[in-house]
């Protein structure tokens, strides 16, 4: 008995001695944290995938509410989901009109392969706490999937819903015609005309660009606009045409305070600015991100203008294009000279010039009316003690 107790005591003592070293060894495992986080991430991913699959199964059994814009809209029987689905349906009708204008007959076949499923989602998760109770909508636009959460109030902001559908449609078109669209304009065309905000963004981008072609394009030189829009042969050095080596060096020098502070960049900075090494300047310039004088937004709009001008068969001509220059491609699609399209785009961009803060006559009238009203209210009554 005594021996047994002695053995137990020894075991306990041994355990007490060994335990800290084992714990330390575990703590020192250099890959321990990585392993644990990888396992956790995998578990989370698996859980999310299972939830997604379960959600998809639920959505597949939803009843069909109707065909809107050619797309099938499903929802569960809760009033919120139905109202969200109907509002989305109305937006899909508008999207179809926009798509038809740009894609022609392709729009109908694309929407016929599309569906929206809307499910009531009680705001149980923390993420949803910031939203009113509503419904989550899953859009399958010709194989391009995306999801959004909608409260009934969110749908009041129709612009955001429209942007969502528009972005999904662009994704779908880009997936099908990636080879044609990636090189130029670098994305799908937009399906609706620019908003005032987008016009102002492009105008600001053009005016704030340091590239001389931006200035020339703004002043109406369409040849410069072609360069700014990257309508150049495939082998052209676009960056140098936008910013010559001297301008690249000037911009690197201006960013000096940020780059000199970084030990790895300081020697490169010296090589570019002090020794005048053009290649180093170019590498640094490219590394910092080159801002196009006219962004992808402008190129996508130019393509939209060409497709609209070209009529219902224009997108078919775009899809069938062989390797030709951008200007020639636009002319083939639209059937009008490229400069005419650029002129239209240029006019749109100039409309984006922001107005000053000066009060408009309407503002003055309204403010005047309120001031008169306030003063009348005071003068007509006895002053309160």
């Amino acid at each position: 008995m005594c021996d047994r107790r002695g053995i137990l005591t020894m075991r306990l003592a041994l355990a007490l001695v060994v335990a800290p070293s084992v714990l330390t060894a575990q703590g020192e495992d250099p890959l321990g944290n990585v392993r644990r986080s990888t396992t956790r991430a995998y578990a989370e991913w698996r859980e999310a995938r299972e939830a997604w699959q379960a959600d998809s199964l639920r959505r597949a059994t939803l009843r069909v509410l109707g065909q809107f814009g050619g797309a099938t809209v499903r929802s569960d029987s809760t009033s919120i989901a139905e109202s969200v689905a109907r509002d989305l349906g109305a937006e899909l009708e508008l999207l179809r009109d926009d798509l038809r204008l740009v894609l022609g007959p392709l729009a109908d076949s694309m929407l016929a392969r599309s569906s929206v499923s809307v499910l009531y989602d009680p705001p149980d998760a923390r993420w949803y706490r910031y939203y009113a109770a509503g419904a989550s909508a899953r859009l399958d636009l010709d194989g391009s999937m995306s999801s959004r959460y909608f409260s009934e109030r969110t749908l009041g902001a129709r612009g955001r819903v429209r942007d969502w559908l528009d972005a999904a449609a662009r994704d779908a078109v880009l997936k099908r015609h990636e080879a044609t669209l990636r090189r130029w304009p670098g994305g799908a065309p937009s399906f609706r005309p620019w908003t005032d905000e987008e016009r102002a963004i492009v105008y600001r981008g053009l005016r704030l660009s340091r590239s001389p072609v931006a200035q020339a394009c703004h002043d109406g030189a369409f040849a410069a606009c072609r360069v700014a829009l990257a309508m150049l042969p495939a082998d052209a050095d676009t960056v140098s045409l936008w910013y010559d080596p001297a301008l690249q060096r000037v911009q690197i020098a201006e960013r000096g305070r940020d780059t000199i502070a970084q030990p790895m960049l300081a020697p490169l900075h010296r090589a570019c600015v002090q020794r005048g090494d053009d290649q180093t300047c170019r590498d640094m310039f490219l590394g910092a991100g080159v801002r196009a004088p006219l962004s992808q937004l402008a190129r996508a709009e130019l393509l939209r203008l060409a497709l609209v001008a070209g009529g219902p068969q224009a997108f078919g001509r775009l899809a069938a294009l062989d390797s030709v220059g951008v200007a020639e491609a636009l002319e083939r699609i639209s059937g009008v000279p490229a400069d005419s399209l650029i002129a239209t785009l240029h006019a749109q961009i100039l409309q984006g010039r922001p107005t000053s803060s000066a009060p408009a006559p309407d503002d003055l009238l309204l403010a005047g009316a309120w001031i008169v009203l306030a003063m009348l209210a005071v003068s007509r009554r006895r002053i309160a003690p």
Binding site: P123, R129, Y130, Y131, A132, A133, S151, R153, T154, Y203, R204, R207, L208, Q215, H218, E254, R255, R257, D258, R353, P354, S356, S357, A358, P359, D363, L364, L366, A367, W370, I371, A374, M375, A377, V378, S379, R380, R381, R382, I383, A384, P385
Partner: protein, 223 residues
């Protein structure tokens, strides 16, 4: 005695009463534009000069809005408090109706508001003259000062109507309004209806609202 000599007398009285306040408000107004420029530069040194000047607009909008609202309320409340302190005996001793007296007070308040406005204009002019504008960027000092003046007059009129219409209850009404707004926000958060606050904001700055004057872009520099 016609209206103008009375206006002059009231103006002199209010100027004497509020000379220190007005001097301070004018100095602060003059500092708004330079402070906005300095703050925008301090916040993000990585921005290019054009972007940095555009970032100044947001700062300037915040500073000038705060300043003009404070100035308008201060000019109204201080003048009323001075009258209330002597139980409005000065106003009662004048051979004019109280309504007319109130309008004269409004006129003197607006006149004194010209001083902070002038200070703001000077600050804006100094910044505009002192900044080397990059190509394609323009300064709009006159437009900004006009916007400031309009917003000031509207705020002054609203504050004046509230103060002289409600008298001593004005502060209680203002506090109640703030309280109602705060409680709405709190209840919206509890009831998980976060869209209420943006809706209230939209109503306040809707085109027919007197506060719509604040909704426009306040910018000194732009393309």
């Amino acid at each position: 005695m016609t209206a103008f000599p009375r206006y002059r007398a009231l103006l002199r009285q209010q100027l004497i009463l509020q000379r220190v306040d007005i001097a301070l408000l004018t100095i602060l107004a003059a500092l708004a534009a330079p402070a906005a420029l300095i703050t925008a530069r301090a916040f993000d040194t990585s921005l290019g000069s054009a972007e940095r000047l555009l970032a100044t607009n947001a700062m300037l909008a915040a500073f000038s809005t705060l300043h003009l609202v404070a100035s308008a309320i201060f000019l109204v409340v201080r003048a009323y408090s001075a009258d209330a302190a002597v139980r409005h005996t000065y106003a009662a001793s004048l051979p004019i109706e109280r309504g007319r007296y109130a309008l004269l007070r409004a006129a003197t308040g607006l006149t004194l508001g010209l001083l902070p406005l002038a200070g703001f204009a000077i600050g804006v002019a100094v910044v505009t003259a002192g900044v080397a504008l990059p190509p394609a960027l323009y300064a709009y000092p006159v437009a900004l000062v006009c916007r400031y003046a309009l917003a000031f007059v509207v705020t002054f009129a609203l504050a004046f109507a509230l103060q002289y219409g409600a008298g001593r209850r004005a502060s209680r009404i203002a506090v109640t309004m703030i309280l109602v707004l705060t409680l709405t926000v709190v209840f919206a958060e509890i009831a998980e209806q976060p869209n209420i606050l943006p809706s209230i904001g939209r109503v306040l700055v809707s085109p027919w609202s007197p506060l719509s004057v604040f909704a426009a872009e306040w910018k000194l520099f732009d393309v």
